[in-house]
Every structure is written in C-alpha cells, then in structure tokens.
C-alpha cells in the first residue's frame, strides 16, 4: 500500500508491481443542478478527478445510485446515468457495473479505478520551499450553486457553472505529467484554503496566497455579497482558522470564496517556481483557460498567509 486511509489524500494507492499501482476512489452526492443529465456528468467528472489529482489515468468505474423510485420517474435515472457514461467515455474509462438502492433522497456517484506508475504518484503532501502553486479552475462554485438552488441565478450563469463542473481535469493532468510536480490535489469540499491546509499542515513550509491572482467565477462575489454562501464555507474557515493568517480588514467576500466548497473543482499543483510560468502557458494552450499562479511556498511553520 502506498497511500491509505490514514492520509488525507484524494484516493488510495496500492502497488501491484514495480511499474504499476492501482488508484481507487469513490465519490457520490445529491444533485447540485436540476438537469439530470448534467448532474450525471458533474458527478462523473467529480469522481474521476481524484484519479487525475494523483497523477493517474482512470480505467474502470462502477455506478453508485440511491434513487427515490416511488416519487421520481425512471427517466430521470436514465438521464443521470447517460450523463455519467458520456463523461466516462470522454475520459476513456469503462463502466463495469454498479449498485443501486431505493432511498428517499436521490444520490449518484461513482467508484473509479485508475493506473499510475508507483514512482509517479502525486500525493497532496510534498510541497517544497521555492515552489509555486497553480490552480486550474475558478473558485466560487459552491456559492453559485447556492444561488442556483435559491432560484437566483440566471440561465447563462447556470450553463457556465455546469460546464465548469462537468469539465474533466484530464487535460490539466496530461499537461501536468510533463512537469516535475512536487504535490497535487483537487480542490473540492474544503475549498482552496482547506485543501491547501491539508497539503502543509505540520510541515516546515509556509504558503503565501496572492488572493488577487486567484481565478474566481465572476458572479460569485455578487452572490456572496447577498449572503448566498454555503454553510460549508463557514465550517471550512472555522476548522482551519488557526492555520490561516489574514489581515483584519481582508475582504470578507473574497475570504469566503477562498473557503468556498467546490464541486468538481480544479487541480492545485505545486512545482518549482522556474517551471510554473511554463506550466501555466501549456495549460492555457490545452484549453485550461483559468489556470493561474496563485501562491508561493517558502520555508516556515505550516501557516497559510493570504494577501
């Protein structure tokens, strides 16, 4: 076993031979959008993301379904699964089967298995002083989804955030494979600062985040300003309060965005400062348009400094 349940990593990794290790991960959740097909795509992209974040290639997947069969038309389930399959196809991953149960609340997700070379596993620990941090998708998904849930988002906004959530981290991971990456994770439920905290907690490194450089969905700020911040963002902040240094007059809206829980968020990649601009340029070429350098790693005390 290379990475197991004792780590806060994205997936488990088990070495099979000198040159092959298995990555296994599982993720499922209730709907984040109204459209069943889109929900299927988002759930699949989200489940696959952990494999990409470990530096691996997804190979097989199994569906996990909880469905309120009494109250919901079976077409809904069919559309969800169709969305999932389309994303799996895009990821060149084979669906082997799955399991469904009847439940009051709809939930869908997948268990995904991928391959990685044992020497090429990208854990979330391993950032080094002198590294830069690159983020590949804009933040604010949780806030925008809260507005969507409240019926306060425009159609265009829903389309944009749906497209972002259903976008695989595959292209970003392929580009990343050409670089000497010291650590990587995908930004999901704990938000940018929460996942970053996992990367450096208890280490001799300190991270400086340049908040102004962090890509953010354009609507997130306005929604945050009228109180559409998911409870998770506050919990994330509370949980990591002691690890995050922020000026007293730091913009509270931006602060919430930095802690905002993401669904199918981007990769957070650490690599040597000299290499970072080249990685960002290659990501942009590959269509990962939002990719940006968002911070630096220095020697220090396991603290995140946000400026």
């Amino acid at each position: 076993m290379l990475i197991g349940a004792d780590s806060a990593d994205d997936a488990g990794v088990y070495r099979i031979s000198e040159d092959l290790a298995l990555i296994q991960t599982l993720d499922f959740f209730p709907p984040v959008v109204d459209d069943p097909y889109d929900f299927g795509r988002i759930a699949a992209a989200n489940a696959l993301s952990d494999v990409y974040a470990m530096g691996g290639t997804p190979k097989t997947a199994m569906n996990i379904v909880a469905f309120p069969a009494q109250s919901m038309a079976v077409e809904v389930l069919r559309d969800i699964l169709a969305g999932g399959i389309d994303i799996l196809r895009e990821a060149e991953t084979v669906l082997l089967g799955g399991h469904s149960i009847v439940d009051e609340e709809l939930k869908y997700g997948l268990s995904v298995t991928g391959f990685v070379h044992p020497q090429r596993v990208l854990a979330n620990r391993g950032l080094l002083p002198g590294d830069c941090l690159v983020l590949t998708k804009p933040l604010g998904v949780g806030i925008v989804n809260t507005a969507v849930k409240g019926g306060l988002a425009e159609e265009e906004t829903i389309r944009r955030v749906t497209r972002q959530m259903a976008t695989l981290n595959r292209d970003a991971a392929r580009v990343m494979a050409d670089f000497a990456v010291s650590a990587c994770t995908d930004v999901t439920g704990f938000g940018l600062l929460g996942h970053l905290a996992e990367m450096i907690a208890g280490t001799a490194t300190r991270v400086r985040i340049d908040a102004g450089a962090v890509p953010v969905l354009s609507e997130a700020r306005d929604f945050a300003a009228i109180g559409l911040v998911p409870a998770g963002a506050y919990k994330n902040r509370e949980y990591r309060r002691s690890m995050v240094e922020m000026a007293d007059d730091f913009d509270p809206l931006l602060r919430d965005i930095l802690f905002d829980p993401q669904t199918s968020g981007g990769l957070l990649i650490g690599l040597a400062e000299k290499q970072a601009p080249a990685l960002v340029a290659r990501l942009h070429e590959a269509g990962v348009e939002a990719a940006a350098i968002v911070g630096q790693v220095v020697a220090g005390d396991g603290i995140i400094e946000v400026r």
């Binding site: 809260t146 019926g151 306060l152 009228i226 911040v229 506050y234």
Partner: protein, 210 residues
C-alpha cells in the same frame, strides 16, 4: 414587528425567507431567528446589501437578527426629521414598477415634546421629502395635518410644487370642516375616508406620521 423563524432551514433557506419577506412586504424593520453561524452571517449580509442596519443578539443556542432600513439607501442613520416620527410600513403589493409611496400626515407637528420644534421639524420633513423622488405618489393630510394645506401654511409653496410635479395631495374633508377652515384650503383636493383607505391599500408603502 413579527419575528421570522428560520431555525432548522438549510442554506440558503434563511436568506430566501428574508428575501421573500422584503420583496413581498417591503418592511422597514425585520427580525429573524436563526440557529447557526452560517445563517447568521448570510442573513446579516443579505440585509446589509438591502440597506438595513443589522444587530445580532444571542438567544441561547440561537441568534436574533434585527434589521432597520436606513434612509437614503444605506450608510447613515435616518435623517433627523424622521427620527422622531412614527414611521410605519404597512401594505405590500407585489413589486409593480414604479414603487408608490403614500405619506399620511396626521398633525402639523412632527413628534411630541415641544410644539414649536415639532412644527419646524414637520416643515423640514415636507421640504426634504422631495428627495424621495418619483416614488412619492400621494400626500394625505388628516386631523391637525390639514392645517398645512391652508392659506397660512409654512409649506404652502412646497406642497403646491409637489402637486404641479404630479404628486396627489389630499386633505381630509371631515377634518377641514371640523376646524371650520374649508374655505382657507389652498392646496390639494378635499377627500373622504374611502379615498384614504383605497390609497393606502394600493400603495407599495405607507409612511404614517403622527
């Protein structure tokens, strides 16, 4: 003021409840009980974004948020003249543009304490009222308020100007008769209680000064 109970509502439920209440009823005060930090911050932020000054009070495991609508679209505290008035938001029509505000004036003085001061404050209020802009729909004078529509009114010119600008100015006919001053009315139309009831019913907001 009714207290809205948003305890037990999952995010973004408390904000949506506050939003619905503001949109439907346009209250100037709003109180809401919430049971978690996220809702406290979110509802507080929402009310602030709508121009309310918000205070939070801990009540056991819950929080009571109290919002008071600030004058002039946020920022400073309500201007002095209204501070002593009994300003009450009644009526709630769904948001039909433009907003129609009725100001119901029951006295020629604003507030109680000193008659001379009250008279000055009312003059100041009526002069400043034009800052409300086109939302001002009707000015209705009842009881002692009808004196402000007479030939010796200190705001006669101002009220006539409101009328020229399209504001409906009404004076209670019964009240004019009671004070035996019907002949001295120089601005507005004399009206009856049915008109007043109808006006306050159709308004988006009624500001009652007594």
């Amino acid at each position: 003021m009714k207290t809205l109970d948003a305890r037990g509502l999952a995010c973004p439920g408390p904000v949506l409840l506050a939003k619905k209440t503001l949109d439907d009823q346009r209250p100037e005060r709003l109180a809401m009980l919430v049971d978690n930090d996220a809702a406290r911050e979110n509802v507080g932020r929402f009310l602030a974004s709508r121009g309310f000054a918000v205070s939070v009070e801990r009540q056991g495991d819950d929080y009571l948020l109290s919002g008071l609508l600030q004058g002039g679209g946020g920022g400073d505290v309500a201007a002095a003249p209204t501070a002593t008035a009994t300003a009450t938001a009644v009526q709630a029509q769904p948001a039909a543009a433009p907003t129609r505000v009725v100001v119901l004036i029951g006295s020629d003085q604003l507030g109680r304490g000193d008659e001379q001061l009250g008279g000055k404050l009312m003059v100041s209020y009526l002069k400043t009222l034009k800052e409300m802009g086109p939302e001002l729909w009707q000015l209705i004078f009842v009881n002692g308020g009808v004196r402000l529509t007479l030939d010796d009114s200190p705001v006669l010119a101002e009220l006539q100007e409101y009328e020229r600008d399209g504001v409906i100015v009404l004076a209670c006919g019964t009240c004019l008769a009671h004070f035996a001053v019907s002949e001295r009315q120089r601005v507005g139309q004399s009206t009856n209680m049915l008109d007043i009831v109808t006006a306050t019913q159709l308004a988006d907001k009624v500001i009652a000064l007594s």
